[in-house]
Symmetry: C2
Subunit: 453 residues, 2 copies
């Protein structure tokens, strides 16, 4: 085994194709349904919102989809991202486990999000789109699409949830630095926004409202499309560069993971790392244990139902089959805004349902404890979302210690915490709290699911 701590690849090693796990699934994904008719919807139904290239990827069953050269050109800025052996963390934990992490924080916006933002912006540009509208919660996705817009000369219009817009002015400044426009949502720019404000002028907004505003904005003009940063098949597809690189880097390390760990919100960073490994397992090439870590106060995979539901709280989107806490459920506040979603990527949900993924849930404070241990050993302060993956990896590493087993653990450190220091300020001053979710609220939200089998 190599004694290196950092496994790097060259620009030529950036994957040439995205990997589509649909080709390796034992059965095709459940169809996406029209909320009105209950019928399966096709590419044309999505055409007003997405470029056709993205739509064809969304419904593709091909195992590999070529990454366009201009996208790979921009990936070169930070890809292949490094894979690290966490030797100091191993020592701090006194574990026989070999811990590796793929680090996506080296991207210009500090997370894995540009992997898909660049691709989506490119497909829009190719199809003559001038402007892309999107929503953002904490701002990581909006920043990444803003970056992509600056690379391809596209206008980017971001609807940022009001509470985050006010709390995280630096995220907004970051987007504006790349030339994007950022609106607090609800805004007076859309029918949906004005309606909310008429009812409640002090609305702090929600991701659901912001989605409605972005979708409406995209629909208003022919030259504008909508873009989503997670959940959908094509978004997960774009993230598979992460796992493909990691596979090659594990070869450089002369090792192979026994366990792959990722955090799950919408599912895209998790899928990006794990799908290539799950694919190898599904094809009977190599066994692996896959662990998905979610926040205990938004336990979509561990406490939710695998059923058809809406992607947004406003119930404007098509119906998808996924693990869900019910679209009416509003997850309690936490610093891991990127994991605060009632649903889950349909492909991740299908694999959980097949027993290929082991979902776990940990509290925010437990995850921050793990993040601090990691930061002091490895020198990188993880994003609050990534702390969940760190926690999952540490749990597995300590299990190795208990059992005296030397396993290789690989996790996705999907982003750094430079923009999330308020969370660490709260932690350091003992003010970080765990807000439990309301079980009766979830029960009600689940009871209200559309009745489709």
């Amino acid at each position: 085994m190599s004694d290196q701590v950092k496994f790097l690849l060259n620009e030529d090693d950036i994957p040439k194709d995205w990997y589509n796990i649909v080709a390796d699934l034992p059965e095709p994904p459940a169809p996406v349904l029209h909320p009105g008719t209950g019928n399966a919807i096709g590419p044309d139904d999505l055409a007003p919102l997405f470029p056709m290239a993205s739509i064809m990827q969304e419904v593709s069953a091909e195992r590999t989809i070529e990454i366009p050269t201009p996208v790979r050109e921009i990936y070169r800025q930070w890809r292949p991202s490094p894979l690290y052996r966490a030797r100091r963390l191993e020592k701090a934990l006194d574990t026989p486990a070999r811990i590796y992490y793929k680090y996506e924080g080296v991207s210009p916006t500090g997370s894995h999000k540009p992997n898909t933002a660049i691709a989506q912006a490119f497909f829009c540009k190719e199809e003559g789109v001038k402007r892309i509208a999107t929503e953002t919660g904490a701002g990581q996705w909006g920043s990444s699409l803003a970056l992509a817009g600056s690379m391809f000369g596209l206008e980017i219009e971001v609807f940022m949830v009001r509470v985050s817009y006010d709390q995280k002015p630096y995220r907004r400044a970051f987007m504006e630095t790349f030339g994007a426009t950022c609106h607090a949502s609800p805004s007076t720019l859309t029918e949906s926004g004005r309606k909310i404000l008429a009812d409640n002028p002090n609305s702090t907004g929600s991701l659901g409202i912001a989605i409605s505003e972005a979708v409406e904005t995209a629909a208003q003009r022919d030259d504008t499309k909508y873009s989503l940063g997670s959940v959908l098949n094509h978004v997960l597809l774009h993230q598979t560069v992460v796992g493909q690189e990691a596979m090659r880097q594990m070869e450089l390390a002369a090792d192979y993971p026994d366990i792959v760990v990722g955090c799950t919100g919408g599912g895209s960073n998790f899928a990006g790392l794990s799908f290539p490994f799950i694919g190898a397992k599904l094809r009977g090439e190599q066994d692996v244990k896959i662990v998905a870590v979610e926040p205990a106060n938004c336990p979509t995979l561990t406490k939710g139902k695998y059923a058809y539901d809406f992607g947004d709280t406003g119930n404007l989107t098509p119906l998808v089959k996924m693990h869900t806490l019910g679209s009416a459920f509003l997850p309690p506040a936490s610093h891991a805004g990127g994991l605060r979603y009632h649903g889950m990527a349909p492909l991740v949900s299908q694999l959980v349902n097949l027993g290929e993924i082991n979902p776990t849930a940990y509290s925010q404070t437990d995850c921050f404890d793990a993040g601090i241990t990691f930061a002091r050993a490895e020198g990188i302060v993880p994003a609050p979302e990534a702390n969940h993956a760190v926690k999952g990896a540490i749990v597995e590493a300590l299990r190795c210690k208990e059992e005296g087993a030397s396993r290789a653990i690989l996790f996705n450190l999907c982003g750094h915490g430079y923009f999330d220091m308020q969370a660490y300020t709260d932690y350091n001053s003992g003010k970080l709290e765990d807000y439990a979710y309301d079980e009766s609220e979830v029960a009600m939200a689940l009871a209200g699911l559309p009745s489709i089998s």
Copy 2:
């Protein structure tokens, strides 16, 4: 020439030695003088403050000084840092110049500072030191020493200038995340601090006061040393890993810089990149033009005097020969806190005096304009300090365009701006202003210089 955009080296390529430019200078550096006696001071005089290893490096004339293995072990986390060809920036500027930048923002704290923080902490650890005291302005240096402390199990005590302590709570949280203690300066913990507070309970502090507090804290206990993040010879020495790597990476690019650009505050990031290239020139191996960029409102090299002066405003430090605006001069506010220093590293000053370095000065807003151009082309938002280097590089690139000359320009992008988004918020909202320095204040400060030839 390679068509790559990113030139990476392996862990094995981390330099084995630091490069000491003193060996290649035509004459030895001017001696450091005791402020009371005016006599040259020796290693023993510095022993209460610094570990002996650092002191011996401070006075060394050896060309190479071996980097201890434990320091290289930690460097492996992010070193060798990438060198980029800025192809999209070249295109945006429509210049025939080939622009390269060395990117130090990949370090755990986002700048070049850990290169010396790790080394200094290691030497303290080796000599049985338990605690290190230091000052920090905007917080970049304090964060890096905090990181180094967590790596070697040392207590780190940071005195942070009160105004920054209040304005940049996230920097403090960052230091605390690594386990350091951060005090607002002036504090009640030291004689110097209490004295200032007695005179002015609302004092917003200054770097000079913070230095006094840190030095006093180091002197209070035998197990405590003091550490400085720039200016001194050994600090510049540690940064030469940057330039040495860049030389090898330029070889990978099958190119050599005609022009090397860096920003100058205390001088360490600038020296880190440029000294190996200046050394090659001094040894007659390869010609190069060296450009130092400083803020127009703290124009140490372009408007200062090359003379003996104190390193701090309290006039407690030894006297060093350097370019200075006078230790009594308080530079006006700017977002480039790391460049807001009345003096300059003696080695940089000596080379400016020898005509080996071309100093230039640009206003904050000009530098931010350049930084925005860079961010939108290259996708990385530079630190306000680094914007000065970006500006210098763009000026040279546009000169190439004007003259139809295809030169290779290399600059040091010494840090990212993730912790400096208030500056970009101000810029984006048109509120970024240039505060001119008071010429009569500088004239008075210069008139007050100690009369030593």
